[in-house]
């Protein structure tokens, strides 16, 4: 399946665009997405943390993904 990942902050700078399309097997989970993007962009593995938001909610490693989900990488936040 083809997933479009929304990028913010330093993840946008590292990947160089605000959206990133990744191919994963159907039924893939958050953990596989993280492994895939870290393999493609090793700089992502150097961040203090890297979370995934699915439909505007922080997701667990075991959360399954689908093409209908709104998916975003969430590097360490620093608001305030």
């Amino acid at each position: 399946m083809e997933l479009t990942i929304h990028l913010y902050g330093i993840t946008r700078d590292i990947i160089g665009q605000s959206r990133y399309v990744v191919q994963l097997p159907p039924g893939a989970r958050v953990q596989q997405l993280l492994e895939s993007v870290r393999t493609s962009y090793p700089e992502l593995a150097e961040l203090k943390s890297l979370l995934v938001a699915v439909n505007e909610e922080y997701a667990e490693a075991e959360t399954p993904l689908s093409e209908r989900d709104e998916i975003a990488l969430i590097p360490p936040v620093s608001g305030g």
Binding site: Y8, G9, I10, L47, A53, A72, V77, S78
Partner: protein, 136 residues
């Protein structure tokens, strides 16, 4: 009033938004852009936000604060885009019947906002820039 905005934050409007007849206290936190961080001179800041999730998370924080303290009303507004030194980055206002709860709730709201709300701060220096908190 819970929002992310690319316009200067109207502080008085945030305070007005938490007026309540049962409130005996309004506590306000105003986060501003300082010119110095960890021995570097900061020229300006850029805030990037995941708008819809940021607003959703701030609403959840307001609800959680209302469970923990006897909160009457909460206002949370965060700025995005380019900010100059001295500009207001965030305003949180909380009204409660008594002042101690307002202080505690307001502090918890800003502390927790910094931990969970998807907003990112980039500092711009004379010779470079850096996303804060990104690396260990």
């Amino acid at each position: 009033m819970i929002a992310v905005t690319d316009q200067p934050i109207a502080i008085a409007a945030c305070i007005d938004a938490v007026q309540a007849e049962r409130a005996g206290a309004v506590d306000v936190f105003i986060g501003t852009v300082r010119n110095h961080n960890q021995s570097k001179d900061v020229v300006r800041l850029e805030f990037e936000t995941f708008d819809s999730m940021a607003v959703k998370k701030m609403k959840e924080l307001a609800e959680e604060a209302s469970r923990r303290w006897p909160v009457e009303k909460v206002a949370m507004v965060h700025r995005k885009g380019v900010l100059s030194i001295g500009e207001v980055a965030v305003v949180i206002a909380v009204s409660t019947p008594h002042r101690n709860d307002a202080f505690e709730a307001c502090r918890w709201l800003i502390d927790t906002l910094k931990q969970v709300v998807p907003i990112w701060k980039k500092e711009i220096y004379e010779n470079g820039e850096e996303w804060l908190e990104a690396h260990p």
